[in-house]
Symmetry: C2
Subunit: 463 residues, 2 copies
Amino acid sequence: MTAALTRNDFGIETAIGILKQQFGERLQTGLSVREQHGHTTTWIENQPPDAVVFARSRDEVAAIVNVCATHKVPIIAFGTGTSLEGHVNAAAGGICIDVSQMDKIVAVHTEDLDCVVQPGVTRKQLNEYLRDQGLFFPIDPGANASLGGMAATRASGTNAVRYGTMKDCILSLEAVLPSGQVIRTGQRARKSSAGYDLTRLLIGSEGTLGIITEMTIRLHGIPEAMSSATCSFPSVEAACNAVIATIQMGVPVARIELLDALQVKACNAYSKLNLPETPLLLLEFHGSDAGVAEQAKTFGEIARDVGGTGFAWTTSPEERTKLWQARHDVYWAALAYRPGAEVVATDVCVPISRLAECVTKAQAKTDELGLVAPIVGHVGDGNFHTSLLVMKDDPDEMARGRAYVSWLNQTAIAMEGTCTGEHGIGQGKRAYLEAELGASTDVMRAIKVAIDPDNIMNPGKIF
Amino acid sequence: MTAALTRNDFGIETAIGILKQQFGERLQTGLSVREQHGHTTTWIENQPPDAVVFARSRDEVAAIVNVCATHKVPIIAFGTGTSLEGHVNAAAGGICIDVSQMDKIVAVHTEDLDCVVQPGVTRKQLNEYLRDQGLFFPIDPGANASLGGMAATRASGTNAVRYGTMKDCILSLEAVLPSGQVIRTGQRARKSSAGYDLTRLLIGSEGTLGIITEMTIRLHGIPEAMSSATCSFPSVEAACNAVIATIQMGVPVARIELLDALQVKACNAYSKLNLPETPLLLLEFHGSDAGVAEQAKTFGEIARDVGGTGFAWTTSPEERTKLWQARHDVYWAALAYRPGAEVVATDVCVPISRLAECVTKAQAKTDELGLVAPIVGHVGDGNFHTSLLVMKDDPDEMARGRAYVSWLNQTAIAMEGTCTGEHGIGQGKRAYLEAELGASTDVMRAIKVAIDPDNIMNPGKIF
C-alpha cells in the first residue's frame, strides 16, 4: 500500500454521476470548493478530490460509501480541514464527504456525564452548548476542530496532561465501514471488557477504516475554581525539571505548557508583553477554591527550588486570560516574528525524562541549520512543537526545513518517543512509522486489508 | 468461529514431542498440572490443555508459538488462573504457555512514572517493589492477578473510577503473534498518534490475537494522604444518587463501592461488624492532607442530603483497614453466608443514571427465582457484581442461576450497558456479545482471521 496510487478515472466519473442525481447541489465539483477540501495548511501540496458531497446523516454517508464501494472509488472524510499532515488530500482523487452539516448534539446525559454528537460538531460548539449545564469537554487542540476529525487523528492538546486524549474521552462510535455496513463499537457504559476495542481502533485510524457518523463522548463537570500561573526559568532543563517534579508529586495540573526563549521573544513583540526572554512555563489548575490555591503553592515551591523566577498566579478570569495570552497567540506571534514566512509544525513526544535533552538538541539543530523555529510544548506529556518559520519559495531553506523534520523525528524515536504525539501520520509522516513501530506496521496493514480490501478509505494515508 | 471446535490430535502429539525435547521438565503433561491450568473457578467446566510449558522468556514463547503454528495446535496463555469466564480452558486441547516464571520487573523509570514488566509479574509483587520509590500501580481487581492476564482481559476493579482500567494504564506492549513474529505496539511516550492503536487492540483480546511478553505500564506517585469513609443509605436508589452527585461535582474519589443490604448482613456475620443492614457505600480519597479532608466533607454533605446516615471517615491506616474490612472480605463473607455454596459472579455495567434501577431489578429477580445473591458494585463506573451462591449439585438451582445470568446480561444491554464491565467474554459470555455489539462482532472476526488465520490462539473464546 505504499506503492504509488493510481486513479480510477472511469469509476470516479460514474460515481459522481450517480451521486449528483441523489445529492444535486450538495455535490460540488468546482475547483475552489475542491481545493478547500484538500490540504490547505503549508508544506504538503494540495490534492483536491474530484467532488465534494455535503452529507447530512449517517444514511447519506452510507449511501455515498455504497456507491464508492461498488465503483472502487476513494472516499475522504472532511470535518473542518485543520489537520496538519495532509489527511484530507485526495492522493488518488475520489469523493470527499464533508460532514460539517452533521453538527447535531443528539443528547446530553448530565447524570452520566456523557453526550452523543454527530461528527461535524466542533469542540467550541459543544462547550457553548454545555456551559449552562455545568459540563465541559476538555480536549483542546487549539483549532476549533470537528470532533469527528479529532477522533480520527487521536487529537489532544493542552489539557491532555489531566484529561487524556481523544482515546480517553470517547465511550463508543458509530461508523460506516468500507463495505457500507454501519457499526456501533460500544454501548454507553463507562467501561466494558466486551471483545476487541474497536472504539480505540477507529480513534486515530485517520479515515482509513471507516467514516465516523456519531460519537458518545465523556464529559466533565466545570470545576468550582480555575487558576493560572506563569514562571520563568533560566534554562529549558530547569523548566523540565519543574515539570517532572510537579507530575511526580501528583499535582493534578490541568495544563502545563512550555514556551522557549525565542517563542517568548516573539510573544513579547506580538502581544506587547514584558516577559523575561527565557523559557517560560504556563499552568492552569482545576479544582476547589482551596485545591487550586494548594496546587499553585506547591508548584511555586517546586519552581523556586529549580531556579524559577517571577512566579505569579491568579484565579481572576481577566488575569488568567492575560497570563495565557502569550500561549493563545503563539501561532500569530510566530508568523509576525518573521513576516512572509509560513509555519510548519513538528509534533514529537518523548518520555519526560528525555524532554529537556530533546528540546535543547532541537534548538541547537535549528541554529546549526540556520532556521527560525520557536518552540511550544505540552510538556506534562513530553510533547512539543517546533514552529518552523519557512519561506516556501526558498528551495534551499525548504530543504533545510525538511532535513530538520527528518532529524527531529528520528531523534525522538531514538529517545523511545514518537514522531507524532497528536497530529497523526497522514501523508507527512509515513516515512517514520516503520522506524517507530517496526513489525507492528505489518499488523496494521493486515487489519487495513481485512476491513478495506479495495483500499477505498483515505488511500495513501498512514501507510 | 462459533462452530464446534475439533481437536487436532496428531498435531498436538507432534508439538508436544518437539517441545518436550526443548523444555524437558518444564513441559508437564500430568493431569493435576493440566487441570490446574484449565478453568478452576466455578460454573464453567474445566477443560485441561494437553500440556503445560513454563516459559521463561519472550524467545521461548516465540519458539513454542512457532512449533504450534507449524502444526496448527491451539495455544492458551496462563498467568495466575484467576479469570472468571473460562479464558484459560483448552476448548480444543493444545498447549498452555504458563508465563508465571516471566516475573521480572525489567525497569522502573521514576521520572517518567512508568515501568517495564514481564507478564507474569502480579500486581501485588509490582506494588511491593515500587513502594520504596514512592510509586504505585493503581488497578486492583481483588485477586492478585498477573499483569499479563489483567491486560488480556482489560481488567479494572475498585480504583477504576479514578485511575481507569488496564486500557488506560498501559503505554505499550510486546507480543508474540500467531505467526511467531514479535511486535512492540508503541514506544514509551505518554501519548502518540502513530497509526492504529494496537496496544488497545491487544488489551482485552483475551489471548486470541497474541501472547503478551512485556508491558510498559504507567504508574502514579503514592498520594500524600489517603482517607476512607463509610455511609449507610435507606435504599439502593439513595446510595446511587449520592454516587451520581459525587461524580458530577468532580470529587476525585479513588474508590466508591456499594454493598447491598444482603451483602452487609453477610459481612456483619463474617467480620463481626455491627453495620446497619441497609445499602452501604465505602469510599477512599487520595490527595493532599487538606484535599482528602475536603473530599470527605463534600461527600458527607452530599450523603446527608439524600438520607445517608452514620457517615464516618478517617485517615488512620488502622481505622481505614477496619472500615474497608467489609469490602475486602465480601467473597468469604458470601461463602460463609451459605455454607456449601459456590460463588458465580456476574459483571454487568450500565450508565450510572440506570444503576439504581438495574440493581433494584436484579434484587427483585433473584428473590423471584429463589436465589441467594448478595451484590457489590464499583458504582462510580456503574459496574456491579451479583455473587450467586449456588449449590452446584442442585440442577434446578443451577438452571435458575443460569436463567438469572441470562436475564441480567440482557437487561443491562437493554439499558445501554454491557454484559461485562471487567471480567471479559471468555467462554461464559459469548452468547451475549452479538446482542450487545451487533455487526461490530463481524469486524472483530475479520481482524481475528487476518491476524490468526488458523485460529490457534485461544480458540473458542470471545466468538
